[in-house]
């Protein structure tokens, strides 16, 4: 009786949201889907901002709405980052932040000061929202949603207007929040790297319907995944740090079937980490050569599938129990004679450490 069980049915002229969802009790659920597929509408339903007949929503065993109950939005313990920042124009930044803080009912679990620091908005506190840049507004909106110490966080493309550098600062903070506070997050994003980094669970919407829903790792290696991730197709691996090479600032992470070297940024031996390997970074070789590619694993071809482009294919390779995707040209597959069952070397040019 934990997690989030939802069934929404909302009819609009030209659009119909019709979803049944069962999301895990913790972690980040990424909501993916093309423009106009109903992501925002779904978040609004969860927040209680849209009222649809015959809908049901149970969060952590509490009934928020069903045929007889209706918890009004202001009594739902959520935080909501709207797609447009929607700050209160009559309040300055600090008062926008305080607005929610003053009204929270539960114990304050999130330090507003820390959020302010991490989002880099300390110097803006006295300003009116009208005097902020687009990215600044968005950061304030994130801090404001956190100010109520929500028990469920709904974020509608919160990082869309931010530069890479900022994203890199904010993402780990969000990760920590949901890890430490045990606060599930539903996160709409168009950026596969954000999703890969943050999400544990993936829900794909299309024309108001759920077309895929499952654990992130499982979903990503599905060839028929309805989201075309394109350049960002890849896999997510969980592993543990086995060794730190201080001289070269590298860390060895053991995964099932081998180990990979990743950049070290203060890891400790034994720590559990998540790695992301993009299909485009994986190449296959018949013999190990002397190249700058440091990660070389022994693997076996599992399956070959079409890719977006006819000149390319996705090859799934098993390394122990780990499955990796490799993107190759058809010609390379032919010239190396790659076929299911074949043993070969897997070269990984680059491994991203996610968490």
């Amino acid at each position: 009786m934990t997690g989030l069980q939802a069934r929404f049915h909302l009819q609009r002229p030209g659009f119909c949201l019709d979803v049944a969802l069962d999301l895990p009790a913790r972690g980040v659920t990424a909501l993916f889907g093309p423009s106009g597929s109903g992501k925002t509408t779904l978040l609004r339903c969860i927040a209680g901002l849209e009222r649809a007949r015959g809908s049901e929503l149970v969060v952590a065993g509490e009934v928020w709405q069903d045929a007889r109950h209706w918890l009004p939005p202001h009594q739902r313990p959520i935080g909501y980052v709207f797609q447009e920042a929607s700050l209160f124009p009559h309040l300055n930044v600090l008062d926008n932040l305080r607005y929610g803080q003053r009204r929270q009912r539960d114990a304050q679990r999130i330090s507003l000061q820390q959020a302010i620091d991490l989002l880099g908005i300390g110097h803006l506190l006295a300003r009116r929202p009208q005097a902020l840049s687009g990215g600044e507004r968005q950061r304030v909106a994130i801090a404001r949603a956190l100010s109520v110490s929500p028990r469920l966080l709904l974020m509608d493309e919160p990082l869309a207007a931010l530069d890479l550098q900022r994203k890199r600062e904010i993402l780990p903070y969000l990760e920590r929040l949901h890890d430490e506070l045990d606060m599930p997050v539903i996160y709409v994003s168009h950026a596969p790297d954000e999703v890969a980094r943050l999400a544990d669970h993936l829900v794909v919407l299309d024309e108001g319907r759920v077309t895929a829903s499952g654990a992130l790792g499982d979903e990503l290696v599905r060839f028929d995944l309805p989201v075309r991730l394109g350049e960002d197709a890849g896999t997510v691996l969980d592993g543990a740090v086995a060794e730190i090479d201080r001289d070269w600032h590298l860390a060895r992470v053991d995964i099932d079937g081998g180990s990979l070297w990743v950049r070290d940024s203060g890891l400790v031996v034994g720590q559990r980490v998540r790695l992301r390997v993009l299909a485009r970074d994986v190449s296959l070789a018949l013999e190990p050569g002397r190249s700058s590619i440091q990660n070389l694993l022994r693997g076996q071809v599992d399956a070959i599938a079409d890719d977006d482009h006819p000149g390319q294919a996705l090859v799934r390779v098993r390394v122990g129990d780990t499955r990796l995707l490799a993107r190759l040209t058809r010609r390379a597959i032919a010239s190396l004679g790659v076929a299911p069952g074949q043993d070969l070397w897997v070269q990984i040019k680059s491994v991203a450490l996610l968490a």
């Binding site: 927040a47 209680g48 901002l49 009004p72 939005p73 202001h74 009594q75 959520i78 935080g79 909501y80 709207f82 929607s86 700050l87 209160f88 124009p89 009559h90 309040l91 607005y99 929610g100 009204r103 929270q104 009912r105 300003r127 009116r128 929202p129 009208q130 005097a131 404001r144 949603a145 100010s147 109520v148």
Partner: protein, 232 residues
């Protein structure tokens, strides 16, 4: 410069206008809010009815109110049943009459202001745990501030200038119902133009000052906003 009775009349006017504005703020706000949110079919008729007191000549309105407050009228019977003194020819009666007469000036500007606030700020407030009532005061009221200002300015000024109703209903009793507008009218009727000019001038200066302060408040608020430019 002014005679004692003039000062008395001015003081009465200020009291009347202030009380009426304050009461109408309390009465008009929920009406305007309801009108701005409802999808009921009653919306149009109610909005029209609320405006109707305006179209009657004030002294005629005063006449009907007098009938209503008289011993046979519904209001008169009500006050009687409650053991209160009749409302006619009393300051309380003027207040009640002015409430009727100035209601449109409060409701209409508020209605327009509420309609322009839109739904989004309320949704945001709800996600930040504000109950509807809380959100109304913490979000809608500040966002509709120019409308509130307009409403109060019009109500106040109109109550000051109102005179037909007062004359009919108040009976021109010094210290009780003889407000400045009636007093000026008396001066003019008595062809005592000098007194009329003086009292009118003082009244104008007084109201000018009040209005200037109100506008200054609005102006300063706008400045603060727009010195940091538009957008949102």
């Amino acid at each position: 410069m002014l005679m004692a009775s003039d000062w008395q009349a001015l003081w009465l006017t200020a009291q009347l206008a202030a009380i009426v504005t304050a009461l109408l703020l309390v009465i008009g706000t929920p009406i305007a809010w309801w009108l701005s949110r409802t999808r009921s079919l009653w919306k149009g008729p109610v909005a029209a009815v609320v405006t109707l007191p305006l179209v009657l000549p004030p002294s005629v309105l005063g006449f009907y109110l007098l009938l209503a407050m008289g011993p046979e009228g519904p209001l008169g019977q009500l006050t009687d049943a409650l053991g209160m003194a009749p409302l006619s020819f009393s300051f309380e009666g003027l207040v009640v009459a002015s409430l009727f007469y100035s209601l449109p000036f409060m409701v209409q500007p508020l209605l327009a202001a509420f309609e322009s606030v839109g739904r989004r700020p309320l949704e945001v407030a709800a996600t930040l745990r504000a109950s509807p009532l809380d959100a109304f005061f913490s979000v809608v009221v500040p966002l509709a501030a120019p409308g509130f200002l307009t409403a109060c300015v019009l109500t106040f000024a109109h109550t000051v200038g109102e005179f037909g109703v007062v004359l009919m209903l108040g009976g021109n009793l010094p210290g009780e119902t003889r407000v400045a507008s009636v007093q000026i009218y008396d001066h003019v009727e008595a062809l005592d133009y000098a007194s009329a000019h003086r009292l009118a001038l003082v009244l104008l200066i007084f109201c000018f000052a009040v209005l200037l302060v109100l506008h200054a408040v609005r102006l300063r608020q706008r400045r603060a906003d727009s010195s940091q430019e538009s957008a949102s």
